[in-house]
Protein backbone atom coordinates (compact mmCIF):
# COMPACT_ATOMS: atom_id res chain seq x y z
CA UNK A 1 0.00 0.00 0.00
CA UNK A 2 2.81 2.40 0.94
CA UNK A 3 4.65 1.57 -2.26
CA UNK A 4 1.61 2.48 -4.30
CA UNK A 5 1.30 5.82 -2.50
CA UNK A 6 4.97 6.63 -3.19
CA UNK A 7 4.43 5.76 -6.86
CA UNK A 8 1.39 8.03 -6.95
CA UNK A 9 3.31 10.95 -5.44
CA UNK A 10 6.27 10.32 -7.77
CA UNK A 11 4.10 10.25 -10.88
CA UNK A 12 2.34 13.44 -9.86
CA UNK A 13 5.64 15.27 -9.30
CA UNK A 14 7.16 14.05 -12.58
CA UNK A 15 4.06 15.04 -14.54
CA UNK A 16 4.08 18.47 -12.97
CA UNK A 17 7.71 19.07 -13.77
CA UNK A 18 7.30 17.85 -17.33
CA UNK A 19 4.30 20.03 -17.90
CA UNK A 20 6.04 23.13 -16.56
CA UNK A 21 9.26 22.60 -18.47
CA UNK A 22 7.60 21.73 -21.73
CA UNK A 23 5.43 24.84 -21.80
CA UNK A 24 7.99 27.50 -20.82
CA UNK A 25 11.40 26.46 -22.10
CA UNK A 26 12.77 30.02 -21.81
CA UNK A 27 11.76 33.62 -21.45
CA UNK A 28 10.96 35.02 -24.88
CA UNK A 29 11.03 38.79 -25.41
CA UNK A 30 7.85 39.83 -27.08
CA UNK A 31 7.36 41.85 -30.21
CA UNK A 32 3.95 43.48 -30.49
CA UNK A 33 1.74 42.61 -33.41
CA UNK A 34 2.53 44.57 -36.52
CA UNK A 35 -1.03 45.66 -37.13
CA UNK A 36 -0.07 49.13 -35.93
CA UNK A 37 2.22 49.26 -38.90
CA UNK A 38 -0.76 49.67 -41.14
CA UNK A 39 -1.38 53.15 -39.86
CA UNK A 40 -4.13 52.11 -37.46
CA UNK A 41 -3.99 55.44 -35.68
CA UNK A 42 -5.04 57.32 -38.77
CA UNK A 43 -7.85 54.94 -39.61
CA UNK A 44 -9.18 55.08 -36.05
CA UNK A 45 -9.70 58.79 -35.66
CA UNK A 46 -10.92 60.38 -38.84
CA UNK A 47 -9.82 63.72 -37.39
CA UNK A 48 -6.61 64.36 -39.25
CA UNK A 49 -4.70 67.62 -39.52
CA UNK A 50 -4.91 69.37 -42.88
CA UNK A 51 -3.22 67.65 -45.78
CA UNK A 52 -1.07 70.73 -46.40
CA UNK A 53 0.67 70.60 -42.99
CA UNK A 54 3.45 68.39 -41.76
CA UNK A 55 2.32 66.07 -38.99
CA UNK A 56 3.31 62.97 -37.09
CA UNK A 57 1.41 60.29 -35.22
CA UNK A 58 1.16 59.10 -32.48
CA UNK A 59 2.06 61.64 -29.79
CA UNK A 60 2.96 59.11 -27.11
CA UNK A 61 4.01 55.48 -27.08
CA UNK A 62 3.64 53.67 -23.75
CA UNK A 63 5.75 50.57 -23.12
CA UNK A 64 5.10 48.58 -19.95
CA UNK A 65 6.79 45.58 -18.32
CA UNK A 66 9.94 46.28 -20.33
CA UNK A 67 13.13 44.46 -19.33
CA UNK A 68 16.69 43.67 -20.44
CA UNK A 69 16.63 41.49 -23.53
CA UNK A 70 13.22 42.71 -24.63
CA UNK A 71 12.47 44.33 -27.97
CA UNK A 72 9.50 46.40 -29.03
CA UNK A 73 8.53 48.13 -32.25
CA UNK A 74 6.16 50.93 -33.13
CA UNK A 75 6.11 53.16 -36.20
CA UNK A 76 6.01 56.91 -36.33
CA UNK A 77 3.77 58.07 -39.14
CA UNK A 78 5.17 61.11 -40.95
CA UNK A 79 3.22 63.31 -43.35
CA UNK A 80 4.79 65.79 -45.76
CA UNK A 81 2.42 68.73 -46.15
CA UNK A 82 4.63 70.56 -48.63
CA UNK A 83 3.95 70.92 -52.33
CA UNK A 84 7.42 69.66 -53.05
CA UNK A 85 9.33 66.54 -52.09
CA UNK A 86 11.04 67.05 -48.74
CA UNK A 87 13.74 65.32 -46.81
CA UNK A 88 12.95 64.67 -43.16
CA UNK A 89 15.30 63.78 -40.32
CA UNK A 90 14.01 61.10 -37.95
CA UNK A 91 16.21 60.58 -34.91
CA UNK A 92 16.47 59.45 -31.33
CA UNK A 93 16.13 62.56 -29.19
CA UNK A 94 17.31 63.13 -25.61
CA UNK A 95 14.27 64.79 -24.00
CA UNK A 96 14.37 68.39 -22.87
CA UNK A 97 11.90 67.58 -20.08
CA UNK A 98 10.07 64.46 -18.96
CA UNK A 99 6.67 63.32 -17.80
CA UNK A 100 5.85 63.20 -14.05
CA UNK A 101 7.60 60.24 -12.41
CA UNK A 102 9.69 59.45 -15.48
CA UNK A 103 13.41 60.23 -15.65
CA UNK A 104 15.67 61.22 -18.50
CA UNK A 105 17.33 58.20 -20.15
CA UNK A 106 20.79 56.81 -19.63
CA UNK A 107 23.24 57.89 -22.34
CA UNK A 108 23.33 54.28 -23.61
CA UNK A 109 19.68 54.35 -24.62
CA UNK A 110 20.56 56.10 -27.87
CA UNK A 111 22.23 52.83 -28.92
CA UNK A 112 19.09 50.83 -28.12
CA UNK A 113 16.87 52.79 -30.50
CA UNK A 114 16.89 51.88 -34.17
CA UNK A 115 15.20 54.12 -36.73
CA UNK A 116 14.45 52.17 -39.91
CA UNK A 117 14.93 55.24 -42.13
CA UNK A 118 16.61 58.30 -40.61
CA UNK A 119 16.42 60.50 -43.73
CA UNK A 120 13.21 59.66 -45.59
CA UNK A 121 12.48 61.66 -48.71
CA UNK A 122 8.72 62.14 -48.90
CA UNK A 123 6.84 63.11 -52.03
CA UNK A 124 4.37 66.02 -51.82
CA UNK A 125 1.49 65.11 -49.44
CA UNK A 126 2.93 61.65 -48.89
CA UNK A 127 2.35 59.82 -45.59
CA UNK A 128 4.79 57.14 -44.53
CA UNK A 129 5.39 54.87 -41.55
CA UNK A 130 8.94 54.78 -40.20
CA UNK A 131 9.55 51.83 -37.89
CA UNK A 132 11.13 52.58 -34.52
CA UNK A 133 12.66 49.66 -32.62
CA UNK A 134 13.68 49.73 -28.98
CA UNK A 135 15.92 46.82 -28.03
CA UNK A 136 17.48 46.63 -24.57
CA UNK A 137 20.57 44.40 -24.34
CA UNK A 138 20.38 41.36 -22.05
CA UNK A 139 23.25 42.63 -19.93
CA UNK A 140 22.02 46.21 -19.62
CA UNK A 141 21.51 47.50 -16.11
CA UNK A 142 18.18 48.98 -15.08
CA UNK A 143 18.95 52.65 -14.45
CA UNK A 144 15.40 53.74 -13.58
CA UNK A 145 11.99 52.12 -13.11
CA UNK A 146 10.39 54.63 -15.49
CA UNK A 147 12.17 56.60 -18.18
CA UNK A 148 11.43 58.57 -21.30
CA UNK A 149 13.01 59.33 -24.64
CA UNK A 150 11.76 61.17 -27.70
CA UNK A 151 11.78 60.42 -31.41
CA UNK A 152 12.33 63.64 -33.35
CA UNK A 153 10.95 64.37 -36.80
CA UNK A 154 12.15 67.48 -38.57
CA UNK A 155 11.49 68.86 -42.03
CA UNK A 156 14.95 69.71 -43.35
CA UNK A 157 13.72 72.38 -45.76
CA UNK A 158 13.00 74.96 -43.02
CA UNK A 159 14.68 78.30 -42.28
CA UNK A 160 16.53 79.44 -39.17
CA UNK A 161 13.56 79.12 -36.83
CA UNK A 162 12.54 75.51 -37.23
CA UNK A 163 9.71 73.38 -35.93
CA UNK A 164 10.35 69.92 -34.60
CA UNK A 165 7.68 67.30 -33.91
CA UNK A 166 8.45 64.64 -31.31
CA UNK A 167 6.92 61.36 -30.20
CA UNK A 168 7.32 60.70 -26.48
CA UNK A 169 8.24 57.11 -25.63
CA UNK A 170 7.34 56.37 -22.01
CA UNK A 171 9.01 53.21 -20.70
CA UNK A 172 7.95 51.42 -17.51
CA UNK A 173 10.24 48.59 -16.49
CA UNK A 174 9.02 45.26 -15.13
Amino acid sequence: MKRILFVVIGVVLVLGLMAGCATYPEEVPLVPPTSAFTNGAIQDTGNQPPDDMNWISPGKVNVTYFRPGARVEYPVTVHNGNDTACSFAVNYRYPDHVDGDFTKPDIKVQDWVIVADMTPLLAPRETRDILITLEMPEDAGMFAPQWEFWVSVMDMSQGQVKTELCVRWLITMR
Binding site: M1, I4, L5, V8, V11, V12, L15, G16, A19, G20, T23, Y24, E27, P29, L30, P32, A36, G40, A41, I42, D44, T45, N47, Q48, P49, P50, M53, N54, W55, I56, S57, P58, G59, K60, V61, N62, V63, T64, Y65, V72, E73, Y74, G81, Y94, D96, H97, G100, W150, S152, M154, G159, Q160, V161, K162, T163, E164, L165, C166, V167, R168
Partner: protein, 194 residues
Protein backbone atom coordinates in the same frame (compact mmCIF):
# COMPACT_ATOMS: atom_id res chain seq x y z
CA UNK B 1 -8.35 -0.15 -3.77
CA UNK B 2 -5.74 -0.24 -6.50
CA UNK B 3 -8.27 0.85 -9.13
CA UNK B 4 -9.26 3.76 -6.94
CA UNK B 5 -5.65 4.90 -6.61
CA UNK B 6 -5.09 4.68 -10.36
CA UNK B 7 -8.21 6.76 -10.90
CA UNK B 8 -6.93 9.37 -8.42
CA UNK B 9 -3.54 9.49 -10.16
CA UNK B 10 -5.13 10.04 -13.55
CA UNK B 11 -7.45 12.71 -12.21
CA UNK B 12 -4.56 14.54 -10.55
CA UNK B 13 -2.48 14.30 -13.71
CA UNK B 14 -5.27 15.77 -15.79
CA UNK B 15 -5.62 18.65 -13.35
CA UNK B 16 -1.92 19.32 -12.94
CA UNK B 17 -0.97 19.33 -16.62
CA UNK B 18 -2.89 22.52 -17.41
CA UNK B 19 -2.51 24.10 -13.96
CA UNK B 20 1.24 23.90 -13.48
CA UNK B 21 2.14 26.03 -16.51
CA UNK B 22 -0.38 28.60 -15.40
CA UNK B 23 1.19 28.73 -11.96
CA UNK B 24 4.63 29.00 -13.58
CA UNK B 25 3.51 31.98 -15.69
CA UNK B 26 4.82 34.74 -13.49
CA UNK B 27 6.26 36.65 -16.49
CA UNK B 28 4.24 39.69 -17.49
CA UNK B 29 4.21 40.38 -21.20
CA UNK B 30 5.75 43.54 -22.59
CA UNK B 31 2.97 45.75 -23.88
CA UNK B 32 3.04 48.67 -26.29
CA UNK B 33 0.15 51.08 -26.63
CA UNK B 34 -0.34 54.41 -28.36
CA UNK B 35 -3.34 56.67 -28.39
CA UNK B 36 -4.38 57.82 -31.86
CA UNK B 37 -3.25 61.44 -32.02
CA UNK B 38 -1.54 63.87 -34.34
CA UNK B 39 1.12 66.43 -33.57
CA UNK B 40 1.11 69.18 -36.17
CA UNK B 41 2.51 72.70 -35.97
CA UNK B 42 4.03 75.16 -38.39
CA UNK B 43 5.80 78.43 -37.65
CA UNK B 44 6.04 81.72 -39.53
CA UNK B 45 8.14 83.62 -40.25
CA UNK B 46 11.12 81.30 -40.24
CA UNK B 47 13.78 83.95 -39.56
CA UNK B 48 14.62 86.73 -37.13
CA UNK B 49 17.22 89.19 -38.30
CA UNK B 50 18.10 90.74 -34.94
CA UNK B 51 17.82 94.55 -35.00
CA UNK B 52 17.32 94.33 -38.79
CA UNK B 53 21.08 94.05 -39.03
CA UNK B 54 21.02 92.59 -42.51
CA UNK B 55 17.94 94.40 -43.77
CA UNK B 56 18.70 98.04 -43.06
CA UNK B 57 21.87 100.04 -43.53
CA UNK B 58 23.56 101.44 -40.49
CA UNK B 59 22.12 98.73 -38.22
CA UNK B 60 24.30 96.71 -35.88
CA UNK B 61 24.00 94.37 -32.93
CA UNK B 62 25.63 96.04 -29.98
CA UNK B 63 27.31 93.99 -27.27
CA UNK B 64 25.62 93.73 -23.87
CA UNK B 65 22.21 94.69 -25.22
CA UNK B 66 18.76 93.14 -24.93
CA UNK B 67 16.87 92.51 -28.17
CA UNK B 68 13.29 91.30 -28.52
CA UNK B 69 11.61 89.79 -31.57
CA UNK B 70 8.97 92.45 -31.07
CA UNK B 71 7.31 93.90 -34.18
CA UNK B 72 7.01 97.19 -32.26
CA UNK B 73 10.81 97.43 -32.11
CA UNK B 74 13.68 95.06 -31.43
CA UNK B 75 14.69 96.98 -28.30
CA UNK B 76 11.13 97.34 -27.00
CA UNK B 77 10.32 94.96 -24.19
CA UNK B 78 6.96 93.19 -24.48
CA UNK B 79 4.37 94.03 -21.83
CA UNK B 80 5.70 92.56 -18.59
CA UNK B 81 2.18 92.11 -17.26
CA UNK B 82 1.39 89.86 -20.21
CA UNK B 83 2.81 89.96 -23.73
CA UNK B 84 0.20 90.69 -26.37
CA UNK B 85 -0.11 89.28 -29.87
CA UNK B 86 1.23 92.47 -31.46
CA UNK B 87 4.49 92.06 -29.54
CA UNK B 88 5.16 88.56 -30.89
CA UNK B 89 6.98 88.09 -34.18
CA UNK B 90 6.22 84.41 -34.67
CA UNK B 91 2.93 82.57 -35.12
CA UNK B 92 2.48 78.88 -34.42
CA UNK B 93 -0.33 77.34 -36.42
CA UNK B 94 -1.38 74.36 -34.40
CA UNK B 95 -3.60 71.65 -35.87
CA UNK B 96 -2.62 68.96 -33.39
CA UNK B 97 -5.50 66.81 -32.22
CA UNK B 98 -4.21 66.64 -28.63
CA UNK B 99 -2.99 69.12 -26.02
CA UNK B 100 0.68 69.93 -26.62
CA UNK B 101 3.71 71.48 -24.94
CA UNK B 102 6.06 73.83 -26.83
CA UNK B 103 9.78 74.01 -26.04
CA UNK B 104 12.28 76.48 -27.49
CA UNK B 105 15.99 75.76 -28.00
CA UNK B 106 18.47 78.52 -28.90
CA UNK B 107 21.80 76.81 -29.76
CA UNK B 108 25.28 78.30 -29.75
CA UNK B 109 26.14 80.48 -32.73
CA UNK B 110 28.38 79.36 -35.54
CA UNK B 111 30.65 81.67 -37.50
CA UNK B 112 32.01 85.04 -36.41
CA UNK B 113 32.50 85.30 -32.65
CA UNK B 114 30.67 81.98 -32.14
CA UNK B 115 28.93 83.34 -29.08
CA UNK B 116 27.65 80.52 -26.86
CA UNK B 117 24.45 80.18 -24.87
CA UNK B 118 25.01 80.79 -21.15
CA UNK B 119 22.05 78.45 -20.41
CA UNK B 120 20.99 80.84 -17.62
CA UNK B 121 19.15 83.51 -19.55
CA UNK B 122 21.78 86.09 -18.58
CA UNK B 123 24.70 87.14 -20.77
CA UNK B 124 28.42 87.09 -19.97
CA UNK B 125 31.79 87.30 -21.67
CA UNK B 126 31.47 85.41 -25.01
CA UNK B 127 28.06 84.20 -23.83
CA UNK B 128 24.58 85.33 -24.80
CA UNK B 129 21.38 84.94 -22.83
CA UNK B 130 18.03 83.93 -24.30
CA UNK B 131 14.38 83.57 -23.34
CA UNK B 132 11.18 82.64 -25.11
CA UNK B 133 7.84 84.29 -24.41
CA UNK B 134 4.33 83.46 -25.51
CA UNK B 135 1.34 85.72 -25.95
CA UNK B 136 -0.42 86.21 -22.64
CA UNK B 137 2.55 85.25 -20.47
CA UNK B 138 3.75 87.62 -17.77
CA UNK B 139 7.47 88.31 -17.56
CA UNK B 140 7.90 85.84 -14.68
CA UNK B 141 6.66 83.05 -16.94
CA UNK B 142 9.14 83.69 -19.74
CA UNK B 143 11.38 80.62 -19.97
CA UNK B 144 15.15 80.44 -20.49
CA UNK B 145 15.83 79.22 -24.03
CA UNK B 146 18.83 76.93 -23.67
CA UNK B 147 21.13 75.19 -26.11
CA UNK B 148 19.64 71.89 -24.91
CA UNK B 149 17.26 70.91 -22.16
CA UNK B 150 14.97 73.93 -22.01
CA UNK B 151 11.87 73.66 -19.88
CA UNK B 152 8.62 73.84 -21.80
CA UNK B 153 8.03 77.46 -22.77
CA UNK B 154 4.31 76.86 -23.02
CA UNK B 155 2.47 73.94 -21.46
CA UNK B 156 -0.95 72.55 -22.29
CA UNK B 157 -1.76 74.41 -25.49
CA UNK B 158 -5.23 73.22 -26.45
CA UNK B 159 -5.70 71.17 -29.61
CA UNK B 160 -6.16 73.14 -32.83
CA UNK B 161 -5.33 76.42 -31.08
CA UNK B 162 -2.78 78.82 -32.57
CA UNK B 163 -0.39 80.90 -30.48
CA UNK B 164 2.00 83.79 -31.05
CA UNK B 165 5.45 83.87 -29.47
CA UNK B 166 8.78 85.61 -29.43
CA UNK B 167 12.46 85.45 -28.54
CA UNK B 168 14.65 87.55 -26.29
CA UNK B 169 18.35 87.75 -27.02
CA UNK B 170 20.92 89.47 -24.81
CA UNK B 171 24.19 89.83 -26.67
CA UNK B 172 27.47 88.90 -25.06
CA UNK B 173 28.82 91.39 -22.55
CA UNK B 174 32.21 91.86 -24.16
CA UNK B 175 32.94 93.49 -27.52
CA UNK B 176 32.82 91.62 -30.80
CA UNK B 177 36.20 90.65 -32.16
CA UNK B 178 35.66 88.95 -35.51
CA UNK B 179 33.57 91.51 -37.40
CA UNK B 180 31.89 88.71 -39.37
CA UNK B 181 28.32 87.39 -39.13
CA UNK B 182 27.30 84.49 -36.95
CA UNK B 183 24.07 82.47 -36.97
CA UNK B 184 22.05 80.16 -34.77
CA UNK B 185 19.14 77.93 -35.72
CA UNK B 186 16.34 78.13 -33.17
CA UNK B 187 14.02 75.15 -32.80
CA UNK B 188 10.52 75.10 -31.38
CA UNK B 189 9.48 71.58 -30.45
CA UNK B 190 5.96 70.24 -30.10
CA UNK B 191 5.25 67.22 -27.90
CA UNK B 192 2.08 65.72 -26.51
CA UNK B 193 1.47 67.32 -23.12
CA UNK B 194 2.42 65.46 -19.95
Amino acid sequence: MRKLLVAIVLALALIIVPVVPALADTEQEVTVTAVPAFIAISNAPATWDINDVAEATGKAIAPDTLYYSNPEGDTTIPTVGGAVDGECRFTITNTSTVIIDLTVLFPDHTGGDASTNSETGANGATEFGAYSYFSGQIQGAWVVAKDTGSAAGLEDLAATTNIKWGLIYESQSDAWTSGTPMTSTVTITATAAS
